[in-house]
Structures are given as C-alpha cells and as structure tokens.
C-alpha cells in the first residue's frame, strides 16, 4: 500500500439555493482555495476526479461545465463519477495507489436546488419497473426504514430528535452550515411528520455547495502538509436495488466495508476518535454507529453533518474532508468517514484515516 493522504480541503457555504453562480463559478473559488492551501502549482496535479449527478442538474453531461473551473488547458488527466464525489476520492485514491502519479485533486459539486420539486427527481432514481411507477414520496423509503427501526426497538423518536439537536448545535461552529441552532428535544418532537416517524428536521436539507480535496502520496504529502490525514483504507459495498429484498434494520454493506477497511488499515472502525457519517436522515446515525461498532466515546459528525446541510453529490466528499480536517488539526489521531448512495443506505463506503503518531 502507498501512503495517500489529504493535504488540503476547502468547501463553499452550503446554500439552500445559489441563484448567482453556475457550476463553474461555485467551484472556482473552492478549487483556488484548496490548491492554495496545498501550495501546489496547477501543473503539478497529476489527476482530477469529480462527482456530480445529471438528475440534480437537469442536463446530460452537466459536469463538463466544471472543467472551466479546473482549467483543462493544457489538457489534463481527468475522470468523473455520476454519484457522490466520495466515490471520486475512491477512484483518485486507487489511481494513486497504482502509482500513476503523486497528486490528485478531487472535487464534488451538488446542487439540490435546481429541481423545482424533489419528488419529481427522487422516483426517477429508482428502478423503472417496480418502484418508480409507484411514485413514492421522496422520504417514503427512509420513513419505512426509520419505522422498521422503531418497531424493532432499536431507536425511539426522542433519539432522532436528540441527534438533530446535537447536530444543529455543533453546526453553529461550522461557518459553511446551511442550518444550525439550539433546539430543545421536546420542541422538536412537537413538529409534524413528513414521513412518519420522520419530521422535517430529521431530513438533511438539500442545498447547493462544492467541496475540494487535494490528495498526495508519501513524502510529497509530508512536504505539502504539516500533518497529512492518511487515508489508510477505503472499501464500499452495495446491496440489492430492491429495498423489499433487504432487512432495512441491518446494514450488512457497512459491516462488510468496515471489516474490510479495518483489515486494510490495521485498526478497527470502532477505534477512531471521530466519525463523519453521511446521514441523509437522523435515523441513519444510530443505525450506522451500530453497524460500525462506534462507542459513545467516538465523536459523531462534529461538523453538524448532513443534517446541517446536504449538497447532494458533495455531501459524502465533505464527510471525508471534515474527518481529515480533525486529523490535520491534531484534534483526532484516527477518523472514519462514511458515504452513502442509493435509497435507504443501499450502497456504503467506509474510509479510515490516520495521522502520523
């Protein structure tokens, strides 16, 4: 294994709706900030990799516009994933592992505000034969999962509200958060349901934002950053597409990915100081923490997590960036970043990060 570490991370503010900037203009200052933080010349970047999704943009091959923010001149080595940019990190990390280069720039752009009605988009992401004709409400599948967890006694509604209250309070220290504040659990429990047992605050609010990571290998990373956040392991597993075939109360994908990543990293997922979890809904946090074996001593989503801002395909990438930031600042020695894709946590990636001792 090569040492591959995060040496810079930048993100834009997450806005409920950015009506000023096109894709390139949201990205440009974020890329500039990350490249400046890494202290590299553009020409030194060996590989660019990004993630976004045309369903959110409403155009085919929408991401090519973002190349105007990267500067594809002279021509660059580049790739794109049609999903959360956390998977672009995985591609870049693998590319560096293969020895193809030493520095990679990964960016994610997510614009949740462009589709005027998220219900029009959400069902198009489901299979066209079984689920899409039912036109499920955008939160319907998450509601089924949360209700199943409630029925199994794994969580209570107050736990969901407590997760939201803690996340939004933590988000007060995050200048990029879309939503933050101090909320009383009992007040939250009086809010109406959007998909019982989920309430509006249990849903990560869709927004517009971009995020950029710079990865570097070995000694090059040590030159560029005082304390690189080494990505010791990444693994992702996907479950079947039909939620009815799954036990929604158990995340076998996460268990497998965490086990595999732990073997690769040399430490268990439970041994981290901090975990950034891609919680599109509040009920995902206890479900993920259980599947990962995270104890009460592990700090969960100190940034506020996605419940404080969910810029669609940038959200998972931001988890890796936030986890890396805790290591780079010295607050944590080991961190976990989780990213998800698909309905009801169908596809999950676990990354384990570590600082030099």
């Amino acid at each position: 294994m090569r040492e591959v570490g995060v040496v810079a991370f930048a993100q834009s503010d997450c806005l409920a709706a950015n009506r000023r900037d096109d894709m390139a203009d949201i990205l440009a200052p974020v890329i500039a900030a990350a490249v400046a933080e890494a202290g590299v010349d553009r020409g030194e970047i060996d590989f660019h990799c990004s993630g976004s999704h045309d369903f959110h943009e409403g155009r085919t091959f929408a991401y090519i516009e973002s190349l105007d923010a990267v500067g594809a001149w002279p021509p660059i080595s580049e790739s794109h994933v049609e999903m959360d940019a956390a998977w672009a990190v995985n591609e870049a990390w693998s590319w560096l592992q293969l020895g193809e280069g030493d520095i990679a720039l990964v960016y994610g752009i997510g614009r949740g505000s462009l589709a005027r009605d998220a219900d029009q988009v959400s069902h198009t992401m489901l299979d066209p034969y079984y689920l899409s004709p039912l036109r499920p409400h955008r939160h319907a599948l998450a509601g089924l999962q949360a209700q199943a967890l409630l029925a199994a006694g794994a969580i209570g509604e107050a736990d969901l509200a407590a997760t939201v209250a803690r996340s939004l309070a933590d988000a007060e220290a995050n200048p990029h958060a879309q939503r933050s504040g101090r909320y009383d659990v009992f007040d939250l429990l009086t809010a109406p349901y959007v998909a019982s047992p989920l309430r509006e605050h249990d849903v990560a609010p869709l927004g517009d934002a971009a995020a950029v990571l710079v990865l570097a290998t070995g000694d090059r990373a040590r030159e560029l950053a005082e304390r690189p956040a080494w990505i010791r392991a990444m693994d992702h597993r996907m479950d079947t597409h039909y939620p009815g075939s799954r036990d929604l109360t158990r995340l076998e994908t996460v268990e497998l990915a965490a086990g595999r990543a732990s073997a690769m990293a040399g430490f268990a997922a439970s041994e981290v100081d901090v975990a950034e979890l891609h919680t599109e809904y509040s009920h995902a946090e206890p479900l993920l923490a259980d599947a990962l074996g995270l104890g009460r001593d592990v700090v969960l989503n100190p940034s506020g997590g996605p419940l404080a801002g969910n810029p669609t395909t940038a959200t998972g990438l931001i988890r890796i960036g936030e986890a890396a930031a805790r290591i780079r600042s010295g607050e944590a020695d080991r961190a976990l970043a989780h990213a998800t894709s698909g309905p009801a946590l169908q596809h999950n990636m676990v990354s384990l990060l570590e600082g030099d001792g």
Binding site: R20, A28, F55, A69, W73, L114, P128, Y129
Partner: protein, 181 residues
C-alpha cells in the same frame, strides 16, 4: 413436463410499460453567462478579455478557463468574422430549423480568440470556403431573447456570394427558440 416448451406455452411477453417522468428545473445561468445572454437579448455581441493571457471569449464565462483569472468587463464586438471550418448538414432530424442541405461553421469572430458555432446561410453550400468573411443576421427585434437564437444565422459579407434562403425554411415564428443547429 412431458414435452419441451414451445413459444405458445410462454406467457405473452410484456413489450412495453409506460414510465413517463417530468422534472422541472431552475436554470442558473451564472454571472458570466448572463452577461452574454443579456447581450443577445439586446442585439449585442458582448465579449470579455482575460487580463492574464489576453484571450478574448465569446461567449464568455466568468473566468478564463486557461488562467482561472476573472475576465475583464464586457466590451461589444461587431459580430463579424471569418469561417474557421465548416460542414454541410445533409441529414434531416427532428427540431431542425432549416431543410438540408445547409452549412454549419466554426467562426472566428473578429476580436475574439475562440470559435463560435453557428449556421451559415444565404449562400450555396458549395460556395462556402475556409476564410470566407461572414456577418450576423439577427432575428426580428421582437424575437430577441437571451439566447444565441437571437442570431438566426451568419451570411457572406460579400453580397456577390449570397444566394436566396431556401424556400423550405421554417418560418422563424414557428421555430422553437434555441433549437439545434
């Protein structure tokens, strides 16, 4: 089963299902592109120059895609230029504004450094050459919109090279805005 299955034993296959979807999006043009689009709605070609490399863009984004430097404020260019390369479109396709054959070209607009793609009309396709001078033909003022469709096509600057528009041309008022070239 005592005999092999034959096609008649199988259920009638479902050949199609209706799975329509419609999604409405908000288009965010961005600051840079809005400058160009507003110019089109006003009957003006607004170009922008990069202070770093001197490249002049039309249409212009907000920053130079080479230098990643913010572009200078817009300045108006005449919209005249020369043919950089071209091809003759011979295939009909849905949404087409003009009946083939007609010419689509990459144009070097005077004062800019990038090529603009547009139709070249009022000329026999066989008479189009690389380097030929062209000028824009605007749609009637009432039809100007924030789109390159405000320019209906380019034509030879030299009147001697011009030919009548083909009679088959779809009337502009019936043509959808921003249709494919």
């Amino acid at each position: 089963m005592s005999r092999a299955l034959v096609a008649a034993d199988l259920p009638e296959p479902v050949a199609t299902i209706a799975a329509p979807f419609r999604v409405d999006y908000t288009y965010v043009a961005g600051v840079g592109r809005s400058t160009y689009l507003r110019g089109m709605a006003e009957g003006r070609f607004l170009a922008r120059e990069c202070p770093g490399c001197g490249q002049v863009y039309f249409p212009a984004p907000e920053q130079c895609a080479r230098c990643l430097t913010g572009l200078l404020p817009p300045s108006e260019i005449p919209g005249t230029g020369t043919v950089s390369t071209f091809c003759i479109v011979n295939l009909p396709f849905p949404g087409q504004l003009f009946t083939p054959p007609y010419v689509v070209g990459h144009l070097n607009l005077d004062g800019t450094g990038n090529r603009l793609m547009h139709r070249i009309m009022e000329v026999e396709p066989a008479d189009v050459t690389v380097g030929m001078a062209v000028e824009p033909v605007w749609a009637p003022r009432a039809e100007w919109e924030p789109s390159l469709a405000s320019v209906r096509y380019f034509r030879p600057t030299d009147p001697a090279l011009r030919a009548p528009l083909p009679a088959e041309v779809v009337p502009a008022e019936a043509a959808p805005g921003g249709a494919d070239a």
